[in-house]
Subunit: 194 residues, 2 copies
DNA sequence: CTTATTTCTTAAACTACTTCATATTTATTG
DNA sequence: CAATAAATATGAAGTAGTTTAAGAAATAAG
């Protein structure tokens, strides 16, 4: 199993010696996931945190009116989970589905707890992950509160150009808080302009 | 200075002996803040993380069109900061203002880094804070994506009844992503019903 | 306790975005 | 490579929430 990608990522935030690196990596299992396959489903507890080695995922919920709403996308070097389900180990509310044939590295909840216990550095790593995630979501919430549908799309294009090509339009629309029809119009207007 | 409240809070998440507790608490400074006074302002780096001992705060931004949008409220036993400014130590984009005469305990950025370095438990504590915050914002984003203005207000009433009385309506409206006029209508409709 | 300031209310006109319905294009499968 | 399904596009009608404006109520300040 190739864990260099994960370790390269981790070493960007904490420095690990060879023994620590091996210890960390050995807690992960490689899993191949086919397009349209689910790795998390509502009512089942999300037992793993997943690091995307290759591929793309979408985390979403289905509202009472039947429409879906996307909380998160993940491609190479992103983490994905139903975070509320994972950290509290209670039933998930999200679906997480592969948008492409993918490879992920998964760590089980109890193994992560162990890692964090045995080595301060591992604790630091997961602290940094959570802080970056929280800072990201703060920026997202503020941007959503302060901008129109069109501005939200423009901003996404600017910040995540590589996601745009790999994510279906209806999913992106639901991430940005608009209908797929409205996003279609925004895109159409844009291409006519340029 | 009375730090029992902070320590009681911290001990809810990590167990500290007397020495550790003293070490942790000694990094905080008590600050009194008058109503309408700012503890964070745009363009100045947010140098402290603040624990609310008594009082209430509001973190918000002013959009290009001049309207304000609230990211967060904080009352007793909540933390408040411009989190992006604090963790990356770059200029803030938020205003944080006292909604009442308040008392807070502030820790400076560099002291927090030191605490996290010297004792695994302190690292764990801040990791848990970040994780809880991230899980909270995930729930918020999902709820906002999936519910109408009225449902968002009802949900806030249900989850944070104690905030509602202490927060001006225009601020609550801007937190929930609607105008104060519209929230006024929602409230009026509700009181007529019951 | 009077005046000034801030916050909340109400109503009417407006608009950004949704809904619905159907056509078109792109992707998937036997 | 047909045939079927899934995703996107487009127009017309509808609506949730905004905007503007003006008055009423509450709070703060002299």
């Amino acid at each position: 199993m190739n864990k260099y990608q994960l370790l390269a990522y981790v070493k960007h935030f904490v420095s690990l010696d060879d023994i620590e690196a091996e210890q960390f990596a050995s807690c992960f299992e490689e899993v191949k996931v086919k397009k349209r396959q689910f790795i998390v489903q509502p009512n089942f507890t999300n037992k793993h945190r997943s690091f995307v080695v290759k591929g793309a995922f979408r985390a979403y919920t289905i509202a009472d009116d039947g429409q879906d709403h996307t909380l998160q996308f993940a491609i190479e070097n992103w983490w994905v989970s139903d975070f509320n389900s994972y950290i509290y180990q209670h039933p998930a509310t999200l679906f997480i589905v592969a948008l492409e044939d993918s490879t992920i590295l998964q760590i089980e909840y109890s193994k992560e707890q162990e890692l964090k216990k045995i080595n301060h550095k591992f604790e630091t790593f997961f602290r940094i992950m959570a802080e970056k995630g929280l800072a990201f979501e703060h920026r997202r919430i503020l941007f959503n509160l302060t901008h129109s549908a069109e501005a939200r799309y423009e901003n996404f294009l600017l910040n995540f150009p590589n996601f745009v090509q790999r994510v279906p339009q209806y999913a992106l629309a639901s991430y940005l808080g608009m209908t797929t029809e409205f996003l279609s119009r925004i895109r159409n207007k844009r291409t006519k302009k340029s």
